[in-house]
Every structure is written in structure tokens, then in C-alpha cells.
């Protein structure tokens, strides 16, 4: 087995744009669930709204990159409003049900054949990333083994993660964040102290949703294509895995969680493939190995929940009273 390859591919995953996208989306979930207690099981929907909002406004309306970015953020805010208005007055579980359904509705709508001209149906949309790469300040060449395009998207993706983390950290240490955490603990108590709980929950839902939309764009730009199949329910659950791995009410938790998630996936895949190729494992095909690694991620998550339920960065003391 080529250990060099195993570790270099795992290390590559650490800073891949996809990991950055997962980190952003999981950070959105941290704002939703970790800080505000909002159960959002439709983060994939927010990502899809972000990605499609960007792609459609670029391709159908030919708007420049930053306008498309703005449209995408606006779309996800509207999506959050739409989900929040009927459900945020109800208990947390209602939001969970509605978000699952809404994410699926988004996916089915963009897959509809009647909308092929706009959404590209099941094939999705492609060739909308030109405006983004046109801004690339890095001349062609090799940057740490990457071409200038790959390097640029990594810089932007991880730059965005850093900026968003700082913003979320600033927000959560502020009195505004304190009210959110209060709502997570007991919203009636917060209400009795004169805070407009509904407005706070709505703001949190929108902020987390916008983080999801940004994640959708970072996810889709390096691929140069947006396809409905990428935004299924399993994406949401991978994001929850990242969040739980890292620690829920933390800023760095979701980022580290996303890194762990992808490194574990990459390591298990390379190791299993290596073992199969070298003939050490004969009872497994490479296709099965691809599936087995998700099972292993599930097992890792279970072990983590049992032995370190607060996640890597979580505060054990907070859990002592759960």
C-alpha cells in the first residue's frame, strides 16, 4: 500500500473547497441548533437555494458575479422567512419537519422537467463559474501542487470560512447571542423578560440559512456544475455529523468537524482500496468499500456520542446538566 498517497490524499481533503463548504454549512447549523435551539433538518435545501440562486441568475439573467451572489443570499433569506413565519411560533420539532419537507420540495422543483430551460432538470446547470475565475488574481502556475484556479477557490472558500467564523464568534459573545442562548434554554423565560423571541429566532434562522447558501456556492463553484442529486437529505445528515463531531455550541467545532469528516472518509477509502488492491482483503469489492466507509463514519459518530458527547470542542460542563 502506498502510504504516501493515503496521507497526501487525506491531507488534501483537509483544505479542499468541499470541506470549506461543509464547514460553512455546519457553522450555519451551529447558529441554528447549537446557539438558538432551532432544529433545521433542511440545510441541504438552503445550500441548493444558494447554488441554484447563483447559477440561475448568472445563466438566465446574465448578471455579474457579485449581483448573483447577492441574489443567492436574498433567495436564502426569503427561504428562511418562508419556513420561519409559520413554524417559529410553534415548538422546535415543527421547524424540523417543515425544513426536511422544504429541502425536498426545492430538490424536486429543480428536477422538474418543465423547468429544464431554467434549472437544467436532473442534469443541472453548468458553466456559470466564469465570472468567478475571471477575478482570479493568481497567474497560471503551480501553487503548492495546485493550479491557479484550484488555489483561488481554496483561498476564497477558506477565507469565507474564517470571516464567517469571526462574525459568528462576535455575534455569539454579544448580548444578542446571549438572548439566543437564552431562547435555546427556555424561550418563555426569555419572553417574560421582554425580548421578542420570534424576531430573534427569525434572525438566527436567516443567518444560518445565508451561511448555508454561501456553502452552496463554495460547494458548487469548483465543480462548475450544480446538480439536484448533490443536495439530497443525506447531505443534511453529513452536515449534522460534522456539527456533532466538532461540538454544537462552538464556532470552531463545525469547521474541525467538517475536516475530521472528510479526512476519515478519505483515509478509510484509501486504506480499504489499498487493502483490496494488495489482495489482503478479498471479501470486499471497491464499490462495497465506498459504501463501507460511510458505515464507518456512522460508527465513529456513535462512538463519539458515547465517549465524548460534547464533540471535540464542546464544553463537557454544559453536558453535565443535559
Amino acid at each position: 500500500m502506498d502510504y504516501g498517497f493515503v496521507f497526501s490524499s487525506a491531507a488534501g481533503e483537509l483544505f479542499s473547497p468541499t470541506t470549506a463548504a461543509y464547514a460553512l454549512a455546519a457553522l450555519g447549523l451551529a447558529v441554528h441548533f447549537g446557539y438558538s435551539g432551532l432544529l433545521n433538518f433542511g440545510q441541504a435545501g438552503f445550500m441548493a437555494v444558494g447554488a441554484y440562486g447563483f447559477a440561475i441568475s448568472t445563466l438566465s439573467f446574465g448578471v455579474p458575479f457579485f449581483v448573483a451572489l447577492l441574489i443567492s443570499i436574498l433567495c436564502s433569506s426569503l427561504f428562511a422567512l418562508l419556513l420561519g413565519i409559520p413554524t417559529l411560533r410553534l415548538r422546535a420539532d415543527y421547524l424540523a419537519i417543515v425544513t426536511i419537507a422544504a429541502a425536498e420540495i426545492v430538490r424536486y422543483i429543480v428536477t422538474t422537467n418543465q423547468l429544464t430551460k431554467v434549472t437544467g432538470s436532473a442534469n443541472g446547470l453548468a458553466a456559470f463559474e466564469g465570472g468567478f475565475y475571471a477575478m482570479n488574481p493568481f497567474p497560471e502556475g503551480s501553487y503548492m501542487g495546485m493550479n491557479n484556479r484550484d488555489f483561488f477557490i481554496r483561498v476564497i472558500g477558506w477565507g469565507l470560512v474564517v470571516v464567517c467564523c469571526v462574525i459568528v464568534w462576535l455575534l455569539m459573545r454579544s448580548p444578542w447571542g446571549r438572548v439566543l442562548k437564552g431562547i435555546r434554554e427556555d424561550e418563555n423565560a426569555v419572553r417574560s423578560l421582554g425580548k421578542n423571541v420570534y424576531a430573534y429566532k427569525m434572525q438566527a434562522l436567516i443567518i444560518g440559512g445565508v451561511l448555508g447558501a454561501l456553502a452552496g456556492m463554495v460547494f458548487t463553484l469548483p465543480r462548475g456544475a450544480v446538480q439536484p442529486a448533490n443536495y439530497g437529505t443525506e447531505l443534511t445528515f453529513f452536515l449534522w455529523t460534522c456539527l456533532l463531531l466538532g461540538g454544537m455550541a462552538t464556532v470552531l467545532g463545525p469547521v474541525i468537524g467538517a475536516m475530521i469528516f472528510w479526512v476519515v472518509l478519505s483515509l478509510t477509502q484509501s486504506v480499504l482500496y489499498g487493502l483490496i488492491e494488495s489482495g489482503a482483503v478479498t471479501w470486499l469489492t471497491t464499490v462495497q468499500a465506498g459504501q463501507l466507509r460511510y458505515i464507518l463514519v456512522g460508527v465513529a459518530l456513535m462512538l463519539l456520542m458515547i465517549f465524548r458527547p460534547q464533540g471535540v470542542f464542546g464544553n463537557k460542563k454544559e453536558l453535565a446538566f443535559a
Binding site: 462574525i167 462576535l170 455575534l171 454579544s174 448580548p175 444578542w176 447571542g177 446571549r178 438572548v179 442562548k181 437564552g182 435555546r184 434554554e185 427556555d186 418563555n188 423565560a189 426569555v190 419572553r191 417574560s192 423578560l193 421582554g194 425580548k195 421578542n196 423571541v197 434572525q203 455550541a249 460542563k317 454544559e318 453535565a320 446538566f321
Partner: protein
């Protein structure tokens, strides 16, 4: 409906002629009145359930709330006197907490009007009421367990610009106010002897300490009216005394207190005024001493021999002797333990209402009734589903 039948006969002490001009704007702090010793009369006119107060802070009219067939709250008229400690007592299920919820906007009544400081607050949401100065605590204490005691306190403070999303990012804007809030919280925590627990998670506090924290936190809002739902429930006797002092202090600081409590000693010690509820209605009100002698209250709530110490064998023997001699007593008969409805809600007497649910037969043979029939449960007699149709 007439309530005069069971009004208290000390109206002569509180005749309208002796009443000072009502100060309705509530700004009498400047007048230098010491609220602890202020003995000006609370009521205008005769004391009766629903009587007018000299200076009411809360006025409720025809407030009704029904759950299914049960009228949980059915209050014709109620005024809460300003700068006084008012106790709301009554048996379990009398609608005390529901009335609290209605007044504070946590629940919406089926009908009725109610005012706070002369402003109509019908349909005003709970958080706006809290901002107006009407703050409540909960029967089941609500503390934010995973926030520290200090953060819990800070959360109560009003006018923190940093609680707006647009300003939250900039500590320069809210940092100054945060220091003021922290100083205010420090003073309160010291008063409530929670200062050593300042940096602990609220979830690590004991039940009694949580009650204290909840009360202290509600004071961070700087309320005009504090509504405490069973502040003594689950608090140990040693802490009770300090809690009582805290509540008295609220009055000294010019706040109005309304509290629900079952502990009669507490009511006797600190309440200036007592309102008694039973089956959703106000059945009596008055100064504690007088209310506890009111036959309607004794029957509805206290029990005829409430002043006998049942923890003492002598007391029990004495009680048994008295009960045997008492013709009205049901002790030892098959009616034992059943509260006579006509004394709880005297207004129902004479109305053509059936009360089969309270007859001993119905209680002993529940199988005769359909489980969900309106007559088998607690549904108010006479109100059946058929009536609604």
C-alpha cells in the same frame, strides 16, 4: 351577580369619605411616601370581591378563559392595588396560574378587557408587557441552565443596545451598557446571596436558589409590577425567611407585588391584600386577617379547622373532638372529603344547575357514567356539549 352576601363587614373602616384622592399616574415616589408604613386605605367603598381600589395598577374586567367545557378563569372584575403586596390564593385548579398567564400575555382569554397602569393591554404580546414593567416568574422555575448565573441576570436587563443584531458586532456600542448591567446584577446577586455562584451554570443551582435567581433576574428588568407564581414552592424554611424579606423589600422600593401562594403563613406575614379564587372566580378579597375568617374562603380553601396544628397529636385530638360535636362536619360520613359546591361558588346556588358529579353516588360509582360524558368529569355543571350545539 351580587357578591355582597359574603363581603366583609369592615366597610366602615374604609369608607369612601376617608379615601384620599387617587393617585393614578404612579409617580408618587417623589411624594416621599414610605410604602412600608403607608396605611392609607386600599379600597374605595365597601370591601367585596371585585371592589374598586384607591390606586389600582391592574384592572381586569370580564376576563374569561375556558378549556373545553371548564371555565378556568371567569373574573368579573378585579383590581390590583399599586405599591401593595397582593396574594392570590385558592385551591388547586382555581385558575390562579391561568389568570397570571392571561394578565401577562402568555395566554389569550376568550373574552374580556384588562389594563395595566391605565393602558389597555388586551392582546399585547408578553414581551411588550414585560417591557412596560410587568414581569412574572413561573411556577416551574425557568432558569437558563447552560448559561452562568451572571449571564442569566444580564439577560434580564432592558435597554441593552447590543441585543439588536445591527449593533451586536460592535462591542464599542454595547460595552458601556454591559458594565452598568453587570454592576446592577452584582448588587442584586449579593442581596439574594447568589454572588458566590456568579460564574456557575444556573443548572448547578438548587431548587431554592433557582427560585431566588428567577426572582433576581426578573428585577433586572426594573419592573413596576412583579408577579410571582408560587415563590415559596420547594424552598427550605431557612431560605423562606430571606425570600419573604426580599418580597417585602420590593414593596419598599416602590414596586407592586402580586403572588400566588399556598403557604398561609407567608400570606399572613407579607400580604397587604388577599384575593381568593375558586373555580375560576374571585370569591373573596380583603386584608389577610379578615379574608381568613371569611366563611367562603374557609370552605373553599382553608378548611374549617385550618388554625389547628395537625403536626401535633394534641391538635389532632382537639380537632377530632370538635368535628364530632360539629353537626355540619362530614368527618366519618360517606361525604367525607367532598367540598360543598354551594359554599365554594355561592352564586351557583339557586341556579337550575345539576351537580351530579359531586354527589357521593357519582363519585363512588364512576362506572355508571360514560368516561367522557360532561357530567362525569370536572366540567362545569349545566354546560354540556349539547348546549354548544
Amino acid at each position: 351577580m351580587s357578591h355582597s352576601a359574603h363581603s366583609m363587614n369592615n366597610a366602615d373602616r374604609n369608607t369612601a369619605s376617608t379615601v384620599k384622592t387617587a393617585n393614578t399616574n404612579g409617580n408618587d415616589k417623589d411624594a416621599g411616601i414610605n410604602y412600608m408604613t403607608d396605611s392609607s386605605p386600599i379600597v374605595v367603598g365597601e370591601i367585596a370581591p371585585g371592589c374598586k381600589k384607591r390606586d389600582p395598577i391592574v384592572v381586569a374586567e370580564n376576563v374569561r378563559r375556558s378549556f373545553g367545557g371548564i371555565n378556568a378563569v371567569d373574573v368579573d372584575y378585579l383590581e390590583i392595588p399599586r405599591h401593595k403586596i397582593t396574594a392570590l390564593i385558592g385551591p388547586n385548579g382555581a385558575g390562579k396560574t391561568t389568570l397570571f398567564n392571561l394578565l401577562t400575555g402568555f395566554d389569550t382569554p376568550n373574552s374580556g378587557k384588562w389594563q395595566f397602569e391605565g393602558k389597555n393591554i388586551e392582546g399585547v404580546s408578553s414581551f411588550k408587557l414585560a417591557r412596560m414593567g410587568m414581569v412574572r416568574t413561573f411556577q416551574l422555575t425557568k432558569v437558563m441552565g447552560k448559561l452562568t448565573v451572571m449571564e442569566n441576570m444580564r439577560l434580564g436587563a432592558a435597554n441593552q443596545p447590543g441585543e439588536r443584531l445591527s449593533k451586536a458586532l460592535f462591542k464599542g456600542i454595547w460595552g458601556g451598557r454591559e458594565k452598568e448591567i453587570t454592576a446592577q446584577a452584582d448588587v442584586l446577586l449579593e442581596k439574594f446571596k447568589l454572588d458566590v455562584k456568579k460564574d456557575d451554570y444556573a443548572a448547578s443551582l438548587s431548587g431554592g436558589q433557582r427560585k431566588l435567581l428567577e426572582m433576581a433576574r426578573s428585577l433586572m428588568v426594573r419592573p413596576k409590577l412583579v408577579m410571582l407564581d408560587e415563590p415559596m414552592a420547594g424552598v427550605n424554611p431557612a431560605l423562606t425567611q430571606s425570600l419573604l424579606d426580599h418580597i417585602k423589600n420590593l414593596k419598599a422600593e416602590g414596586m407592586t407585588v402580586l403572588f400566588v401562594e399556598h403557604d398561609m403563613n407567608m400570606v399572613r406575614h407579607i400580604a397587604d391584600w388577599v384575593v381568593v379564587m375558586a373555580e375560576g372566580k374571585i370569591v373573596a378579597e380583603g386584608p389577610p386577617r379578615d379574608v381568613m375568617k371569611d366563611p367562603a374562603v374557609i370552605d373553599a380553601y382553608l378548611g374549617a379547622h385550618h388554625d389547628v396544628d395537625l403536626g401535633d397529636t394534641e391538635g389532632i385530638k382537639e380537632l377530632e373532638a370538635v368535628l364530632e360535636a360539629d353537626e355540619e362536619s362530614v368527618v366519618g360520613t360517606e361525604n367525607a372529603g367532598i367540598i360543598a359546591v354551594e359554599s365554594v361558588v355561592p352564586d351557583l346556588k339557586g341556579a337550575d344547575l345539576k351537580q351530579p358529579d359531586l354527589s357521593p353516588e357519582a363519585l363512588q360509582e364512576p362506572g355508571d357514567d360514560e368516561p367522557n360524558s360532561p357530567q362525569s368529569g370536572l366540567a362545569e355543571p349545566g354546560r354540556t356539549d349539547k348546549d354548544k350545539e
